[in-house]
Symmetry: C2
Subunit: 420 residues, 2 copies
C-alpha cells in the first residue's frame, strides 16, 4: 500500500531535549523534535506520570490514546524532583542537555528553585522553553489555563457554530498542539542563534498568543473597523453558497466561489430555476440573501444522495467534498495512498499506529517512530548515562525518588483525569 521511501535521519540527532511536560502542548513540542531525530527524555511524576496517561476513554488496549498520540520517539524518566535528590538528578540532566521544554503550572518550576536564572546558570547554552496559558506578564499571567477555556477567552468560541445555536468550540486542541508547533519552531531558531553566539535562550510561549495567531485575520478585520463577525456554521462570510448541505443520507460540502461555478452548480443539480431567481444571480446578492439561498439549495440537495451530489458536481467542476466521518477518513484511499499513518511495534498495544509528521523530504517522512514509553521505562538508563552508579540508581528507586520500569503490561490503571 505504502510505497513511500523509508525515513532519513533527522537533523537533530545531536540535540538532547528534556521535557518536563504534561498533557498536550509540551509533549507535542518534544514529539516534533524527536521526529526530527532529537533524543528526548520525558521527565514524569513517579507513580502517575504525565496527566494524559490517565485520560480515558478513549483508550487503546488499556492505554490512553492521548498519551499514545503525543509521546512517540521519547524515553521516560520517572522522577520526584520535589525531593532534593531528584532535583539533583534533574539539574544534572539539564547540564547535559540542549533544550528544556516545560508546561507545568506557571511558576511551579521556579518555586522549586529552577528559575530561568538558575537554569541559565546550570547551563548557559540551554534553550529553555517555558509554556504558559496567558503569557509572562499581565494580570492573568500566573493563571493556569486549558485549551477550551482559552478558545473562549480568545474569541474562537464566539465565532464557531451556528448563529442560531449555542456557541461551539473547535473540537481539536488547536491551542495546545499549535503551541507545541510554535515551540518546535522556536527551538530551531534558538539553535541557529546559539550556533552564532554560543548562548542559549529563554523562550516564552503561551496558549493565548497561539490563539491570537489563529484569529489574527478576523481580529485585524475588527481592528480595521469591519465589525464583529457572526457565527456562520460551516459557511464563509464573503461567499454563498459555501458550506455543508444536507442530502438524503448525510451532508456534502459545496463551494461555489464565483457566479460561473454557481451556474454550473444549479445546472448539475437540475435546479436551473435557482440560478437567476430573484436576488440569486450574483454572489453579492446571494451573500445578502444567505438564509434564502441556503434554504433553497438545501431543498434541492436533500433530493439526492451524497454520492449522487458529489458525482454530479465533480462532473461539472464544482468544488465539493464528502463530509467524512473519522472512520471514513481512516479508510480513505487518498489518506492511505500518502502513507499518512504508519504502524509501529508496541509491546502491549495491538495494531498501534501513528500519524506521521505532515511533511516528506525527498519523498520520505522524517522519522522512524518508536512506541511511546511506559512510565519510567528508561529511568535506569538515563541515570546511568548521567553518571550514577548502579547502587545509586537502586537507592533512588528504593526511596521512591525514581520510578523504574514496570514489567510490560503492568502500567498503572487508567484513571479519570481532566483532559483539558
Amino acid at each position: 500500500m505504502n510505497a513511500l521511501p523509508t525515513p532519513g535521519r533527522g537533523s537533530l540527532s545531536d540535540v538532547r531535549v528534556v521535557e518536563i511536560g504534561t498533557s498536550v502542548a509540551a509533549p507535542m513540542a518534544t514529539q516534533i523534535l524527536g521526529d526530527f531525530g532529537a533524543e528526548v527524555v520525558k521527565v514524569e511524576r513517579v507513580g502517575r506520570g504525565d496527566d494524559s496517561r490517565s485520560w480515558a476513554p478513549p483508550d487503546w488496549d488499556g492505554q490512553s490514546v492521548t498519551y499514545l498520540a503525543l509521546n512517540r520517539n521519547k524515553r521516560s524518566l520517572a522522577l520526584d524532583f520535589k525531593d532534593p535528590r531528584g532535583m539533583g538528578v534533574l539539574e544534572e540532566l539539564i547540564r547535559r542537555s540542549d533544550v528544556l521544554v516545560q508546561n507545568l503550572r506557571p511558576g511551579a518550576l521556579a518555586a522549586l528553585g529552577l528559575t530561568p536564572e538558575r537554569i541559565a546558570e546550570l547551563n548557559p547554552r540551554l534553550i529553555y522553553c517555558e509554556l504558559t496559558g496567558f503569557g509572562p506578564t499581565g494580570p492573568r499571567s500566573g493563571q493556569p489555563a486549558y485549551d477550551p477555556l482559552l478558545q473562549a477567552y480568545s474569541g474562537i468560541v464566539s465565532i464557531t457554530g451556528d448563529d442560531g445555536g449555542e456557541p461551539a468550540r473547535v473540537p481539536v486542541s488547536i491551542l495546545d498542539i499549535g503551541t507545541g508547533m510554535w515551540t518546535a519552531l522556536a527551538v530551531f531558531e534558538a539553535l541557529r542563534r546559539r550556533e552564532r553566539t554560543g548562548s542559549g535562550t529563554h523562550v516564552e510561549l503561551s496558549l493565548l498568543q497561539t490563539a491570537l495567531t489563529w484569529v489574527s485575520m478576523p481580529l485585524l478585520a475588527v481592528a480595521a473597523g469591519n465589525g464583529v463577525p457572526s457565527r456562520l456554521g460551516s459557511g464563509l462570510a464573503g461567499v454563498v453558497p459555501y458550506g455543508a448541505f444536507p442530502t438524503s443520507d448525510g451532508h456534502v460540502f459545496i463551494s461555489a466561489g464565483n457566479d460561473d461555478t454557481w451556474a454550473r452548480l444549479c445546472s448539475a443539480l437540475d435546479a436551473e430555476h435557482l440560478r437567476s431567481a430573484d436576488g440569486f444571480a450574483t454572489n453579492r446578492e446571494r451573500v445578502q440573501q444567505r438564509t434564502e439561498v441556503v434554504a433553497a439549495l438545501s431543498a434541492v440537495t436533500r433530493g439526492f444522495s451524497s454520492e449522487e451530489v458529489l458525482k454530479r458536481l465533480t462532473e461539472n467542476k464544482v468544488p465539493c467534498s464528502p463530509v467524512h466521518t473519522l472512520d471514513q477518513v481512516l479508510a480513505d484511499e487518498q489518506v492511505r495512498a500518502i502513507g499518512a499513518l504508519t504502524p509501529v511495534e508496541h509491546p502491549s498495544v495491538r495494531n498501534f499506529q501513528v500519524v506521521n509528521l505532515p511533511m516528506t523530504f525527498e519523498g520520505a517522512y522524517p522519522s522512524a517512530p518508536t512506541a511511546p514509553p511506559a512510565l519510567g521505562a528508561d529511568s535506569a538508563d538515563v541515570l546511568t548515562e548521567i553518571g550514577l552508579a548502579p547502587n545509586q540508581v537502586t537507592e533512588l528507586a528504593d526511596s521512591g525518588v525514581v520510578g523504574l520500569a514496570e514489567p510490560a503490561g503492568a502500567d498503572a490503571p487508567i484513571r479519570k483525569g481532566d483532559p483539558a
Copy 2:
C-alpha cells in the same frame, strides 16, 4: 503599555526565500521565515497579484485584511513567468536563493518547465517546498483544494458544532495556516540538513496531512476501536460540565474537571440541590446524563449575569472564562499586557498593526515587522540585484513581463474573489 524588549535580529538573515504563493498557506510560511529575519521575495502576477489582495470585505483603508495579515516582512516582485523572459528572471532568482515555497495548483509550475528536477538542476542547494491540497500521490493528488473543503474531507466538519444542529467548520484557516507553520519547520530542518550535506531538498506538504495531524487524537481513537465521536458543541467527551453556558446577558465557559470542582461550582451558584441530585454526583454519572446536567446547570447560570457567574466561580476556584467576542479580545487587558499586537507604519493603511509571532526570546518578539508591500513595489530593486541593467528593467516593464510599483495609494481596486 508595552514594556517588552525590542526585537533582536532573527537567525535567518542570511537566508533568501522566493515565494510563488497565493492565498494563505505559502504566504504564511514565508511570513514566518521573514519574521525570523529571512529576506523574502514574493513573486506575484503582474496586474493582479496574490489572490488574497482581492479578498474583501473585510478591508482596511481599501486593502484586503487577509493580504495585510499574511505578507509583512516581504518584498513584492510582479512577474509574468509564463513569458520566457519572465521565466528567465525567475530562474535567476531561484539560482540565487536558498528556499522556494510555492502553492500554485498542483503541477502548474512543472507545466511551465519548473519540475523538481529542473529546480534542483538550477540550484542543487535549494530547499524546494511544494504545498498541495491532497499530497504528492494517490487518486486525488492532482486536485486543487481549499481549507474548508479539506476540513470536510478530513473529518473536522463532522465533529464540529452541535449534535442536533448542522455540521460546522472551524472558522479560521487551521489547515492553511497550519501548513504554513509546518512548512517553516521543514525549512529549518532542511537548512540543518544542508549544513551537513551541502544539498538542498524537495519538501512536500499538504493541507490533507496537516488536517490529519489536527485530528490525530480522535482519529487514532477510532483506529483503536473507540467508535466515531459525536459532535458536542462546546463540550468535551469525558467531562461534564465543560463548555459554554448561557447567562442572562451572554455565555460563560465553565470547566468542572473533577467532582471537587463540581461541588464548588454548585455551591458558588447557590445550586447545592444539583450537586448530588440523582445521577449528578460523579463525573462518570454526569457524562452519562450529559443532556440533563447541561440543562439543569444552564437553568441556574441563566439566572445570573456573565460577570456575576465569573466572579463567583473565580472566587471558588472553578476554572472559567468569558466567551469573548473579537472586539473584547482586542481591548482585553491581558492581550495588551503581553504586547501581542504591534503597530507598524504603513504608507496608506491608518493604524495598521500586526499580530506578532507567538513567541519571545529573552522577552523580545523575534521580528521588527515591515508593512506588506504594494504589488511590484520591489520589482526594480530585485531585478537590479540579480544583475539586470536599468534599460533591461525598463524593457521588461514596458512589455508587461514585470510590473513596477504603482504610486502609493494607487493599488488595484479590491475585487471579489474566492477567499477559500
